[in-house]
Structures are given as structure tokens and as C-alpha cells.
């Protein structure tokens, strides 16, 4: 049984649906990457999973249960975590407090998880007492990922984690994502840097107009001449 399975998901913000039947299945060992043109419903798919917009059709099964239209405070304890693209840190709070907020739903001792996050991002350990708003873009992205990891998720969803970062940080963030995945956390992410992200994706989804257009492993999609021509810029 897959970790999460979307079956023909339809949904939107109230008007015409943006998602017109999205299908997806991710295992705990997978890195899933969603690519596609602007307005294809990539971020919308993540938000639909996370209960941030209304799902009007289809099912989203997580751990064998339909979680469509559940709210984040119910989803986080179940093992889902989401890193939004923008405004994804509490700027006025310290790095450590940001991480603590990620563990809000936990009742057990989260110190070990915090140490694990710090081992993943050593630079954050150095800056733990600094307000997150004072950090650079790349470091903020690390805080955002660290915050999402604090709830010990089974599935980590990231909305364009490399957006606006310098090439050096893009590589670092992607490497971290692979490392997190190796520790048993399923990944589902949306990426603009399609080629680069698909290169390490075990599942790739090309969306267009709110529907799946192509599905395959990342390298398969890169090799597919039609995908390359229409969606990866030749």
C-alpha cells in the first residue's frame, strides 16, 4: 500500500476547479516531483492534500484513511508536513523557537528530533538564538524545512524549495532532501528547476491544466522527447 494515494482529485478555491482529476501515489521510499507549466495546479495539489483548499471530488488516502478536507492541525499529528514556498519562517522568532513551533502537536520529548535537525543543518545550530528574519534566503529555507521535520513526518511536502536561491544553495537543499528521504521520509515536491529535480526523482508527475499528463520515474521523463520538448524547454 502506498504511503499516500490521490485518486482522481478534483478541487479549487470555490470557483471553477483548478484540479480536474489528479492521480498520484508515493511510497515512503519515494521522492516525488511535480513539474508542469504555470497554472497547471502543482502547488494547488500540495495545498489540496494539506486541507488548505476544498477537495470536491476523488479521494486522498494517507495510511489507509481518506484525509481529504482534513485541516492541518489534524494532518500534522498523522505524519504530514508542508513547507510553503513563501513566508515559511516566523521571522520575529529565533531559529530554535521556529523549530519548536514545528513540534507543537507533539506531546513527547522533541529534543532528539531537534538535535537531528541541527545535525542535518549545522549552520542552524550556530544561529539557534538568532531571529529567523535575520538569516539569508538559503538559511531560511533550512529553518523552514527543519520546522517541518520537527513533527517527525512520514511525508514531507515542499513547494518550490529552491525558488529564489543561489545555485550553491539549490544543490545543498536538494542534497538535504535526498538525505531526509534516505532516513525514511517520503517526499513530494513541486519544482521549477524541473530538469535538476527530476534527475533524482523516483516518481515524476507532469501536470497540465489540473490533470496528469505524464507519469514515470524522473530519468524516464527527462528522456521522453515529448516531455522534454513541451515541458522542459527542449
Amino acid at each position: 500500500m502506498p504511503l499516500i494515494e490521490l485518486k482522481h482529485v478534483v478541487g479549487g478555491y470555490g470557483g471553477a476547479p483548478i484540479l480536474n482529476g489528479v492521480d498520484m501515489a508515493i511510497e515512503a521510499s519515494d521522492i516525488g516531483v511535480i513539474v508542469g507549466p504555470n497554472g497547471a495546479g502543482k502547488s494547488t495539489t500540495l495545498k489540496a492534500i494539506f486541507g488548505l483548499l476544498r477537495v470536491t471530488g476523488g479521494t486522498i488516502e494517507f495510511g489507509g484513511e481518506n484525509i481529504a478536507n482534513s485541516l492541518p492541525d489534524k494532518l500534522v499529528p498523522k505524519g504530514l508536513s508542508f513547507v510553503p514556498q513563501e513566508k515559511n519562517v516566523f521571522t520575529s522568532m529565533t531559529v530554535e523557537e521556529n523549530l519548536e513551533m514545528g513540534a507543537f502537536t507533539r506531546t513527547d520529548d522533541f529534543r532528539p528530533t531537534m538535535d537531528w535537525v541541527y545535525s542535518m543543518f549545522p549552520v542552524l545550530a550556530e544561529k539557534r538564538r538568532q531571529p529567523a528574519g535575520e538569516l539569508s534566503g538559503g538559511q531560511r529555507q533550512m529553518v523552514a524545512m527543519g520546522r517541518a521535520l520537527m513533527s517527525k513526518p512520514k511525508l514531507l511536502m515542499l513547494d518550490e524549495p529552491s525558488a529564489g536561491l543561489s545555485p550553491r544553495y539549490v544543490i545543498e537543499i536538494f542534497e538535504t532532501i535526498v538525505r531526509v528521504n534516505k532516513e525514511g521520509v517520503g517526499i513530494l515536491m513541486v519544482e521549477q528547476n524541473a530538469r535538476q529535480a527530476l534527475a533524482f526523482a523516483s516518481k515524476g508527475f507532469v501536470l497540465a491544466q489540473g490533470q496528469n499528463r505524464f507519469t514515470g520515474t524522473g530519468p524516464e521523463l527527462i528522456a521522453d522527447p515529448e516531455v522534454a520538448k513541451s515541458f522542459l524547454g527542449g
Partner: protein
């Protein structure tokens, strides 16, 4: 020396009393703004409501023949705070929460809060009449006089017992609030939600709980501030409605959404007001001897006549908005 004692009595002590009241009111306004993003205009009336709750409890205690060494108004304060916090939760549930659920804009909530203001004032008048009442019908206000003759002063520094207790209570509340916001999980969640509500939701923070806690704190602090105001002056239905402007000014000057800013802003506005209406001739009189023949200080050298005290808060507010729109502590500007 007498001039200094006069200054301490008239500016330092009254400014601190007023500052405590403004600060506690402004903290509530700023927290509600931070979490719910609307200006809670009825905050002054929540203070008045709290003062009346304390008044009823104190009267009941006196009627039962319980005599305490402290003024009754302070003894009943913890219970009055709890009751006012529950009433504040009720106000939210009855009036603001239904609007939020329908996705009302902040301005709609602001107007609703003006409605709540009128309602609370109307109800207070209906139940208690529009007259002025005092907590000190049956007990006297003790006044401490610190003799200053050792320093060559002919007058004592005088401070009332309620004022002394007010300073202590305010200090305790500020420390408790600080510890809550920086040490407790829920306090941090409150700061997180004020910082970025969408991300707080995504993090799995129970935002409905944070909203409830905000009303509890705002209600409890409003009760303390209102009761202090009533103990220092007198109790009437429009008691705190009259100071809603300086309280909002304090919250904005301090930086909206920022609790420490509200405290600083409260004392800043209070001291500015107190010093603006203070008759400086009383302190500067010794200079008269230095002035040339035929020149003397005018009898009244106050910057602003007492009846225009409110303009001081306005002026500071306008200057802040012009020079530093986000306030001293860089609060939210929207």
C-alpha cells in the same frame, strides 16, 4: 526641595499609575490585533465591564461582613479577572467569531466592536445607572506620607495604598506575561500566530485555542486595568471608554502586535500626558529670583490645559505614524 516633592507627587506617581492602566489596556488591544487582525474598539468597555464585576464582588464581600486589610477591590481581583475573561470569551463567541467564520474583513469586525461598545455601555447604564460610584464607600483610602523633612522638604511625598498595590500588581503581570510569551508553548504559539497566521496553521498549531487564550488574557488584563482606574478615580459607565484613544495610541506607538511595545507605549503616552498638563511654574519658581526686574514666570505654565489632555496622545500618534509607522518595536503596519 519642595518643588521636587511636588514633581514626584504630581508627575512621577500619577504618570506611573496612568501608565500602568494604559499599558495593561494596550497589551490586550495589541494581542487581539496581533492574533485576529482587527482593532478591538470595545476594549475600553471591556475594562469598564471588568471594573463593574470587581465592584459587584467587592460590594458582596462587604455585605457579607468580610473585612480585609487590603482594599476590597484588590482582594476580589483574581475572581473578577476570571469572570471578565469568561465574558470576553462570550463576546468573541457571540459577536466576533460568527463574523470571522463568514470571512468578514477586519473593518467589519471593527464596526462590530463599536456595536459591542454601545451595547456594553447601555447594559451598564441599565443595570447600574449612569451615576458615579466609588469602591471606597465603606473603607477609607489609606495614604502613605513619606516625611521629607530630613531633606529640607516641608511637604511629604504622598501615595495612596491602592496606588502602591497597583505598581506591584502591574509589575507582577508584566513579568508573568513575559514568562508566558517566552517560556510556555502556548505563549510561543501566540507569538507565532501573530507573526504569520498561515504558517502557524500549517505547523499544526491549534489556532482556535490560541484565539481563546488571547481573549482570556485580554479580558483578564482589561479587568485589572479597569479596576485600577476605578480604584484610582471612580467608577462610571463610560469610565474606560474615555481612555480608549490613549490606549490605542500606546499600542500603535509601541508597534501593533507587540506586547512589550504596548507596555512601553503605555508608559510613554501616560508620562507625556502627565507632563504636558503639569504646571511647570511650580517647579521652576526658584528661577524667579534670577529673572530681571519686572519679569516673572506666569502663574500657570502647563503645555496643554488639562481639558485638552487627549490631544497629547493624538500628537504622539501622528508623529509616530509619520516618523516610524511600524512603532517603536516594529509591529505590523497593516
Amino acid at each position: 526641595m519642595d518643588e521636587l516633592i511636588f514633581f514626584i507627587n504630581r508627575v512621577l506617581i500619577s504618570g506611573t499609575v496612568l501608565g500602568s492602566i494604559y499599558a495593561l489596556g494596550a497589551v490586550g488591544v495589541t494581542l487581539i490585533f496581533g492574533i485576529l487582525r482587527f482593532a478591538h474598539f470595545a476594549h475600553g468597555d471591556m475594562m469598564t465591564m471588568g471594573a463593574f464585576v470587581a465592584f459587584v464582588l467587592a460590594a458582596a464581600m462587604t455585605a457579607m461582613g468580610i473585612v480585609t486589610p487590603l482594599p476590597a477591590g484588590f482582594v476580589v481581583l483574581p475572581l473578577a479577572m476570571i469572570i471578565t475573561a469568561v465574558l470576553a470569551l462570550g463576546l468573541d463567541k457571540g459577536f466576533y467569531a460568527p463574523l470571522r467564520q463568514r470571512g468578514a474583513k477586519p473593518v467589519t469586525l471593527l464596526i462590530a466592536s463599536i456595536g459591542v461598545t454601545l451595547m456594553i455601555q447601555g447594559l451598564t447604564r441599565l443595570i447600574f445607572g449612569s451615576g458615579t460610584r466609588t469602591f471606597f464607600d465603606t473603607e477609607s483610602k489609606d495614604i502613605f506620607r513619606i516625611d521629607m523633612s530630613w531633606a529640607g522638604g516641608s511637604r511629604p511625598i504622598s501615595i495612596t495604598e491602592p496606588q502602591v498595590i497597583m505598581f506591584i500588581v502591574t509589575a507582577l503581570i508584566v513579568v508573568a506575561l513575559h514568562l508566558f510569551l517566552t517560556r510556555s508553548r502556548l505563549g510561543k504559539a501566540m507569538r507565532a500566530m501573530a507573526d504569520n497566521a498561515a504558517l502557524a496553521q500549517v505547523s499544526g498549531i491549534n489556532t482556535a485555542l490560541v484565539v481563546r487564550v488571547t481573549w482570556v488574557i485580554a479580558g483578564a488584563l482589561a479587568c485589572v486595568a479597569g479596576t485600577m482606574l476605578a480604584l484610582d478615580v471612580a467608577l462610571m459607565p463610560d469610565l474606560a471608554f474615555n481612555i480608549v484613544l490613549p490606549i490605542f495610541a500606546a499600542a500603535i506607538v509601541g508597534g501593533l502586535g507587540h506586547a512589550y511595545g504596548a507596555i512601553v507605549g503605555g508608559f510613554l503616552i501616560a508620562f507625556a500626558e502627565t507632563m504636558a498638563v503639569f504646571n511647570w511654574t511650580a517647579v521652576l519658581r526658584p528661577i524667579n529670583g534670577l529673572l530681571p526686574e519686572g519679569m516673572a514666570l506666569p502663574a500657570n505654565l502647563a503645555l496643554v490645559p488639562t481639558e485638552y489632555k487627549l490631544t497629547v496622545a493624538f500628537v504622539i500618534l501622528v508623529i509616530t505614524l509619520l516618523v516610524r509607522p511600524t512603532g517603536i518595536f516594529k509591529g505590523a503596519s497593516t
